[in-house]
């Protein structure tokens, strides 16, 4: 495989930007949701849980449509963002990032929830007796102990956002240089007969991008490696 063409570079960099922004934005929201689902008890918890799973269940095109209806130029949410912080989504890379974030959210919430539920609460109470307030305890005990789930959420979310197609093309359109991420470029190429090589090159780029994220996360996991030590058997 020879070097990348300028067009391929453009697609790759855009994909990187969209995924990075999507995951950065989704991470705190997903963590908050995971926390609520893992730690709180409230009426309608199952409803929240179901809503979080929605983008996974619905065909991506439908999610894209719902985004269009919610964040379109004339839609209330769309107008709200445009008027308050001047942020518009339709046909913009920000829209691609929004679509990617929404699609990645359910995966991220589940992974983090799983780890949060496994944290030994007795350790948190030990930290409290040692003078750490709830927030400090969260930062020094809960968060690091839930790290495996957070890393898994990062990898899953990044992989999912790198592969996101249906919601993006429906909501943000397929505009080269603005919203044409790797999957959209691949889709365009796939429409033409005899484009297998082009498709393969772009798909390889996607894979490289995600393998990078994967290796990084494994490295982070090992570095922070909870020192389980003393494994018997």
């Amino acid at each position: 495989m020879s070097g990348l063409s300028p067009a391929e570079w453009e697609v790759l960099l855009l994909s990187l930007k969209v995924s990075a922004v999507a995951i950065a934005a989704a991470l705190p929201l997903a963590f908050g949701l995971a926390w609520m689902l893992a730690r709180w008890r409230f009426p309608g918890k199952v409803v929240l849980d179901a809503v979080v799973h929605l983008p996974l269940v619905l065909p991506p095109v439908v999610t894209g449509w719902l985004l269009l209806l919610t964040f379109g130029t004339n839609a209330p949410m769309g107008r709200f963002f445009a008027e308050t912080i001047g942020l518009t989504f339709l046909f913009r890379w920000t829209g691609a990032a929004l679509a990617a974030a929404v699609m990645a959210l359910p995966l991220m919430v589940r992974a983090m929830r799983l780890s949060l539920e496994a944290v030994d609460r007795r350790l948190e109470s030990a930290a409290r007796t040692l003078g750490a307030g709830p927030w400090r305890t969260f930062l020094t005990i809960t968060l690091p102990l839930a790290l495996p789930g957070i890393l898994a959420a990062l990898v899953l979310g990044l992989a999912r956002s790198v592969g996101e197609f249906g919601a993006t093309i429906t909501f943000a359109s397929n505009i080269p240089g603005e919203t044409q991420t790797l999957p959209l470029a691949i889709y365009s190429a796939l429409q033409l007969p005899g484009s297998e090589l082009q498709v393969a090159r772009l798909a390889a780029l996607s894979v490289l991008l995600s393998v990078g994220a994967l290796v990084l996360s494994e490295w982070l996991a090992r570095r922070s490696g909870h020192g389980k030590g003393r494994h018997v058997l």
Partner: protein
Amino acid sequence: MSFDIAVTLQRGHVRMTYEFAAGPGLTALFGPSGAGKTSLLDAVAGLVRPIEGRIAVSGATLFDRAQRINLRPEKRRCGYVFQDLRLFPHRCVRDNLLFGWKRVSPDERWLGIDVALNLLGIGHLLDRMPATLSGGEAQRVAIGRALLSAPRFLLMDEPLASVDADRREEILRLIERIRDELSLPILYVSHDRAEVERLAQQIIPVEPAHSAA
């Protein structure tokens, strides 16, 4: 009074009532397994909320249901050596020991790190992770962590259960010094009669709990 306690706790179907006022020095809780000793320490530390009553230590009210006082655990400044240790598994021994230490101002500290490491014999373990410690080593780290947080009173739940005889003697002497020189109130649980008789100014019998109807 160093400990002024009159509370009722509920755990599962079991309800436990405690009522005593202890003078200065070390107060031992003595009673059969399952009587509710750990539960009481948890309540004094603020980890279990009593359903009724009042807890005061050295004249300061930590909990009073009638007055709606319930100090948060981190405000109570207790040094709690847990029966199940609860070392932080993701942090090395050094970080465990310094966890509370870092959170108090230097002039409040009353125990030097070097002294603690020496007396507890854990200086060579600083870089180890808790999962690699032997039972006695882990227990000594747990004691060190509680003492180094510069607490105003101590809650010790069988702190010497798996410590060997020589080390136990040294730690007992350290506890006596803390009791006498710093006059820190200490609530102490042990099944060892000799230990209790040697250390305690007062022995509070804890009666086995009865199932609530």
